[in-house]
């Protein structure tokens, strides 16, 4: 029972002089901080702004699509709206959100470190991100881009009349921020783990961050280069993809998707980690098949590099290439399925508590399963040829990225909110918001599967009347979804002032991050923690709970 005593020794609340939130005050102490916890909050502020900006693009689209005619936006303005929505949501919201907010905050805490390996690099990466965001804002104010987030050539290099150069530069600069964070996370995981915290005792969220960082480090530079090539061709007339001089526009697609398929895993792998933490804690069960979960994460990050051609079935690539990419895409679906099965098996004989984070997690599992299964439809060449560039594709990737990644982000934020701020959120409102997000999401995006399969093409703002009923459903669902996103912002802000004070470990979770006060002190732990067991020791290994009485959980380690 040494774990329990160690836990009791932790004060619930740090003194004002200790808490990372109050140890220093004033604007400069925030803008020049090297504390990973404060930098996580800086990222949260910036990314919230981008979420609103990208969301505004979605709102404009959903209003326009309410009727079959063009009422709100011209064709050109519509092109700019969906491009901006895509660029902002992909590179300024989905890719950074979980790693640099939750990851930045939790990685050192979960492995018992005082900070990330390179604290100043961490701060610099935030400033790079802000610079990139400023460029993106400039792009918008100057009139936007009309190429779609994919920047396909020769449209982007020769024909587009938007601000392609500014947008490409913004994404290019954002990549440096991503790479800097990823290098930091990798080195931290290798070299700053607490004594006793072996690789196979790492919480799955740490594994997920680690694998994500590896993908970031190896994929992002390819995007940087391909954007540079676009820039060179558009700005200086250097012919890389120009068919008149022997260049090949399809080569652009190869390079772009070599990044952008792994980017899907950059967006979803961190969510896998978050969901593993939530499901184990609220089912009071050790995760089912820990080592398989780890191998699945690593398998996904490796094979994810080998499937990019499934975005190019209609590009004119050889049939043999299409078949190979199709097969590999089925292969990469296997580890994702393993994860879904293991989460489900973790619930078996668990003492499930339907608190808000668990509702988000269960919603994630359902939506991710639908998104993943329709991904298999799209990985089969004949089906993909039928639904290429339709709303079926739009629905599929929104199920993964919005139903999946955004649900996990909200769930994780809710779960760790007491640790980050020292305050409890209002549980009833949070459950309401979580349920509302699930249904709002379904109303918005499920109709898109149907109309896509019926032939509604993406990226058009006028459409035949037969599709209107589905578009109206989607637009109405989007209203619910928007409310479900805004509501937590309201009660989180409310809780900062009026929320109840959180104890060090309000959810009786086992991770090291709960073995310090809420909010943590500047140095994370007053005494360097030691680890003596694997994660998720909620119940003795092979038995389920005998009754509704909770057995005492054993934390992974503590400040002995």
């Amino acid at each position: 029972m040494s774990g329990i005593t160690a836990e009791r020794a932790v004060p619930d609340r740090p003194s004002r002089a200790d808490s990372y939130l109050t140890v220093e005050t004033g604007l400069a102490s925030w803008l020049l901080t090297t504390d990973h916890k404060r930098i996580a909050l800086l990222y949260m502020a910036a990314i919230t702004v981008f979420f609103f900006v990208g969301g505004a693009g979605a709102v404009a689209m959903r209003i326009e699509l309410f009727t079959p005619q063009a009422d709100l936006l011209s064709a050109d303005a519509y092109n700019r709206a969906f491009t901006f929505h895509g660029v902002i949501m992909v590179w300024f919201f989905l890719i950074p959100s979980i790693p640099v907010i939750l990851g930045n905050f939790l990685l050192p805490l979960m492995i018992g470190a005082r900070d990330l390996a390179f604290p100043r690099l961490n701060l610099i990466s935030w400033y790079i991100f802000i610079a990139a965001g400023a460029l993106a804002a400039y792009t918008l104010l100057a009139g936007g881009v009309d190429t779609g987030w994919t920047f396909y050539t020769p449209l982007s290099t020769a024909f587009a009349n938007g601000h392609v150069l500014a947008a490409a530069t913004a994404v290019f600069v954002a990549g440096f921020s991503t790479i800097a964070s990823a290098v930091n996370f990798i080195v931290t995981t290798h070299l700053l783990r607490a004594p006793g915290l072996t690789w196979f005792r790492l919480p799955l969220f740490v594994w997920a961050l680690y694998a994500t960082s590896v993908v970031m480090v190896l994929a992002t530079p390819v995007l940087a280069m391909v954007l540079l090539l676009i820039f060179a061709e558009r700005a200086f007339g250097i012919p890389i993809f120009d068919p008149l001089r022997g260049g090949d526009p399809v080569l652009f697609q190869h390079l772009f998707w070599f990044y952008s398929h792994p980017a899907v895993y950059i967006m979803i792998l961190p969510s896998f980690g978050v969901i593993s933490e939530l499901v184990t804690c609220y089912a009071r069960r050790r995760v089912f098949g820990y080592s398989f979960m780890v191998y699945a994460i690593l398998w996904i990050s490796l094979v994810g590099f080998l499937v990019w051609g499934h975005h190019m079935f209609v590009s004119g690539q050889s049939v043999f290439a299409s078949l190979a990419f199709s097969l590999l895409s089925f292969v990469v679906a296997v580890p994702s399925a393993i994860k879904v099965f293991n989460w489900t098996a973790t619930l078996y004989r668990g003492q499930i508590v339907f608190d808000a984070p668990m509702i988000y997690a269960l919603g994630f599992i359902g939506l991710f399963t639908i998104g993943g299964l329709t991904g298999l439809f799209l990985a089969s060449v004949p089906v993909d040829v039928h639904v290429t560039d339709t709303y079926f594709v739009v629905a599929h990737f929104h199920y993964i990225m919005v139903g999946g990644a955004v649900s996990a982000f909200y769930g994780g934020l809710t779960f760790w909110w007491p640790k980050m701020t020292g305050r409890l959120y209002p549980e009833g409102w949070a459950r309401f918001a979580a349920v509302m997000m699930f249904f709002g999401f379904g109303f918005t995006f499920f109709p898109m599967f149907i109309m896509g399969f019926l032939g509604m093409p993406r990226r058009y703002h006028v459409y035949p009347e037969e599709f209107q009923v589905w578009h109206v459903l989607a637009s109405a669902g989007a209203v619910i979804l928007a409310a479900a996103y805004l509501l937590p912002m309201g009660y989180f802000a409310w809780s900062l002032v009026w929320g109840r004070r959180a104890s060090a470990n309000p959810w009786d979770a086992t991770g090291l991050e709960w073995q310090t006060s809420s909010p943590p002190p500047r140095e994370n732990f007053l005494v360097s923690p030691a680890v003596d067991r694997g994660p998720y020791d909620y119940h003795p290994a092979h038995t389920g709970p005998p009754s509704m009485e909770r057995e005492p959980h054993r934390p992974q380690g503590g400040q002995a």
Binding site: T34, P108, A113, R114, D115, L116, A117, F118, P119, I179, A182, V183, N184, I186, V187, H190, L191, L192, V217, L218, A219, T220, P221, V222, A224, M225, V226, L228, L229, A232, G237, I238, P239, I240, L244, R245, G246, G247, D248, L251, L255, F258
Partner: protein, 213 residues
């Protein structure tokens, strides 16, 4: 400064031992270098694809680059890697004079490379080797070769300039004593420098030996 005090001054948060911090800096640089390798892998792959599509045009275009400038520059960069390695080892062994001399030599060799490159660029412009109207060769895919020539040498020169900047900064800091010699930064800078060098080892045969065999 005594050894222990120097070690104290070098140790940064969150590290508890200098050995560990040194390991982190070199490991972090290696990870970054892996990222950089992927950065250059993209255009090298594109080069390979186009080279197999248009072999004659690439051979003809390759004969237009100036092999004298290219070879001199290869020699300069290889020598600079030697001096950089000596500087990193010197810093580790706390040989102040050796470190300072070798850092200065490295920066000077890097600058010499850029100067030679500048002369070469002037000649290239003179010979109408910029893709676009009035290009020297009338095979259109030859312009593709020179697209890669300008892009790759330009990006390499940018990397080298950053390397020179880092080297000069470390030189000044070591001179003033504001950065003690046991600092892991010397080894990290060395790794980066060698990588930039290695990129050139790939570019030299692709851009200068192409079509000359």
């Amino acid at each position: 400064m005594s050894g222990a005090a120097a070690r104290e001054a070098t140790l940064q948060k969150p590290w508890r031992s200098l050995r560990r911090e040194r390991e982190a800096v070199s490991f972090g640089t290696w990870v970054f270098v892996a990222s950089e390798a992927m950065f250059f892998a993209g255009p090298l792959l594109a080069y390979a694809a186009y080279r197999s599509l248009w072999p004659e045009a690439f051979a003809a275009a390759g004969r237009e680059t100036d092999i004298v400038y290219g070879t001199v520059n290869t020699a300069l960069l290889l020598t600079s890697s030697l001096t950089m390695a000596a500087a990193a080892e010197g810093a580790r062994a706390r040989l102040r004079r050796l470190t300072l001399t070798c850092l200065a030599a490295t920066a000077a060799l890097g600058l010499a490379f850029l100067v030679v490159k500048g002369f070469e660029y002037r000649e290239d412009i003179h010979k109408h080797l910029i893709p676009g109207a009035g290009f020297r060769l009338d095979m259109p895919p030859a312009q593709l070769f020179f697209a890669f020539y300008w892009l790759l040498t330009g990006v390499h020169a940018l990397h080298l300039s950053i390397g020179i900047g880092i080297t000069v900064t470390l030189l000044i800091q070591a001179w003033h004593g504001s950065r003690p010699l046991p600092s892991p930064a010397f080894e990290g800078a060395g790794l980066y420098w060698h990588f930039v060098d290695l990129v050139w080892i790939f570019l030299y045969p692709l851009l200068y030996l192409m079509g000359r065999s």
